[in-house]
């Protein structure tokens, strides 16, 4: 194809996106679009499955049967989200094994929030309320993204995520009506999860690369800072209902802006954890690698068995 022909195709492609048409797997797409989507969707899938780990840490210790069942079901949903997202990424020409390989070697990232430890039962509430809450802000925006399979996965995922968020909040609400020990546990969880949740929206807009291209492809519909502000505005009143104090001395309603002002994120900590030096980075990756390695003989056996079955059926047919 000549350069001119490619340029024409790119223009047509962009026009389709501008007209809110969805791009489907068999459609022509610029290579950069394909690569960017593979990267983003697979990272999103990895976040779902690594995100199972801090919560799974509490299944065996859940304080009631009802909570145990609800937590298991929630984590199972996340596994399901991982599945749709891996499938969506596969439509762009990468295999699931390749994506796992990238995760296990540290080439692909996942959401840095999961490198924080879940230390008490209140953390399970806080993860649902804050972490899922922050994730939803991003994901709702992505329901309208241009790549069809990703957009459809987001629609399905958002429905379940908002249920998870309510469930997490309800855990904390129940505790906030309980004993002093329970209230202290809620406050402690909020103290530890608040800032990492704000970090989930990524670097400040001024330091965020690639934004312009992502906006054009509708991979980014609001900037990091806009989403972060929206999250703070939404969450502050919810904390008040819990009777818990957000750990930010600079948090204050700004009547002129009609938004909350809030303090500066500790960006040093943000980059430390992103770069692999958080409390649980090693633990999480090791858990994923170990599950994969210990499962090798199982996956190999399943393949061998399937081949034997095919062979037997062929022989029967002859």
């Amino acid at each position: 194809m000549s350069e001119k022909e490619i340029k024409n195709l790119e223009e047509l492609f962009q026009r389709r996106i501008d007209n809110d048409e969805k791009i489907e797997p068999k459609d022509w797409m610029p290579e950069k679009y394909r690569q960017t989507h593979i990267r983003q969707i697979s990272q999103h899938a990895h976040s779902e499955i690594v995100g199972m780990l801090p919560e799974a840490n509490w299944i065996t210790r859940a304080p009631s049967l009802r909570r145990k069942v609800a937590l298991l079901a929630k984590i199972q949903d996340e596994g399901g989200h991982g599945l749709y997202l891996y499938s969506a990424a596969e439509t762009l020409g990468i295999s699931r094994d390749e994506m796992y390989e990238q995760l296990h070697t540290g080439k692909a990232k996942y959401s840095s929030i999961f490198n924080y430890p879940s230390l008490t039962w209140a953390d399970i509430g806080a993860i649902g309320w804050l972490v899922d809450g922050a994730a939803i802000m991003n994901q709702v925006a992505l329901m309208g993204t241009s790549y069809g399979p990703y957009s459809r996965a987001m629609i399905r995922i958002c429905k379940e995520e908002s249920f998870h968020q309510r469930q997490g909040y309800e855990i904390l609400l129940t505790m906030s009506k309980g004993t002093q020990e329970q209230k202290d546990m809620v406050q402690d969880a909020l103290n530890r999860w608040w800032w990492p949740s704000l970090m989930m929206f990524g670097p400040r807009d001024a330091e965020s690369p690639n934004t312009e291209q992502s906006v054009k492809w509708k991979l980014k519909r609001k900037t990091n800072d806009e989403l972060r502000q929206q999250f703070v505005d939404q969450t502050v009143p919810q904390a008040e209902i819990l009777g818990a104090k957000i750990p930010d001395a600079n948090l204050k309603w700004n009547e002129d802006r009609k938004h909350y002002d809030f303090g500066e994120i500790d960006w040093e900590e943000f980059w430390q954890v992103v770069n692999g030096h958080g409390k649980c980075n090693k633990l999480r990756l090791e858990a994923r690698r170990s599950a994969w390695e210990k499962g090798t003989w199982v996956r190999d056996a399943a393949m061998a068995h399937a081949e034997k079955q095919t062979q037997r059926n062929l022989e029967k047919a002859v």
Binding site: M52, R66, G295, R299
Partner: protein
């Protein structure tokens, strides 16, 4: 209300709880995402069944009893689950062997229990049959794949059956409460299930190119509350919140 009936219900429920607890340890750590989701699903079904049984037992017991006091506040000696379900998740082969042997028993039990003259038990059994049929299909399919897969998977699978076989006979031992409940038309004669169980297991193991272990000695004790060393750790973890923060609502 007779203690026999409560004990009888707890016996069935404790098996589901402890196996559900064991399976839930695996959530997020399965050999593939699909098997992870499926084993979590089995755990969810079992814990759902546990809740139905405990709610009923708590109602019969009266007083302060709830599904959670039964799950979290009994002493080790008061749990009546069989030794098989408390065995550890040594590897995926052990997990599937434990599951399949229990599933075949469980389904046979429920098929009888749905005819119980106790309407609540009959209803729980009827509802659970669908779930447990799926469990058995899942675990049975994996036994076939792993038994007749690679040499390594075959050996691992055989080892799992060889080591777990000693716990199987306990499934068919009748306690005094079992006998009383069979006489009352409530319970199931588990001793009578053994022939069908053995036949079904033998057929599947043979199809999976595995050998049915030939064992003279069997272990028992779980049904009487005398467990393996694993049980204390299972309970320590499971009861952690209720023991550390007593009398709170979560």
């Amino acid at each position: 209300m007779s203690n026999s009936k409560i004990n009888y219900i707890l016996g069935i429920a404790d098996n589901a709880l402890i196996l559900g607890q064991r399976l839930s340890e695996l959530c997020g750590h399965g050999p593939s995402l699909e098997t992870d989701i499926a084993t979590t699903n089995i755990a969810l079904d079992l814990l759902g069944q546990t809740r139905s049984y405990y709610q009923y037992a708590a109602e019969l017991q009266g007083g302060e009893a709830t599904e959670d006091t039964l799950a979290f506040l009994r002493k080790e000696r008061e749990y009546k689950n069989v030794l098989l379900v408390e065995q550890p998740n040594t590897d995926f082969g052990y997990v599937m062997a434990r599951q399949y042997m229990f599933d075949v028993f469980h389904l046979l039990l429920l098929e009888q229990l749905q005819n119980s003259n106790d309407e609540v038990l009959a209803a729980i059994a009827k509802k659970s049959i669908k779930e447990v049929s799926y469990h058995k299909r899942f675990s049975g399919d994996w036994i076939k794949r792993l038994g007749d897969g690679t040499e390594e998977s075959h050996n691992r699978m055989q080892e799992a059956f060889d080591n777990l076989w000693t716990f199987t006979n306990e499934l068919f031992l009748m306690t005094a409460d079992d006998t009383a409940m069979v006489e009352a038309g409530v319970g199931v004669d588990v001793a009578a299930l053994k022939a069908a169980w053995t036949q079904e297991i033998t057929a599947l193991l043979t199809e999976a190119t595995l050998t049915v272990p030939d064992l003279k000695y069997f272990l028992k004790g779980g049904k009487e509350g005398i467990h393996s060393e694993h049980m204390g750790f299972i309970l320590t973890e499971m009861q952690y919140m209720q023991r550390t923060y007593p009398n709170m609502t979560w």
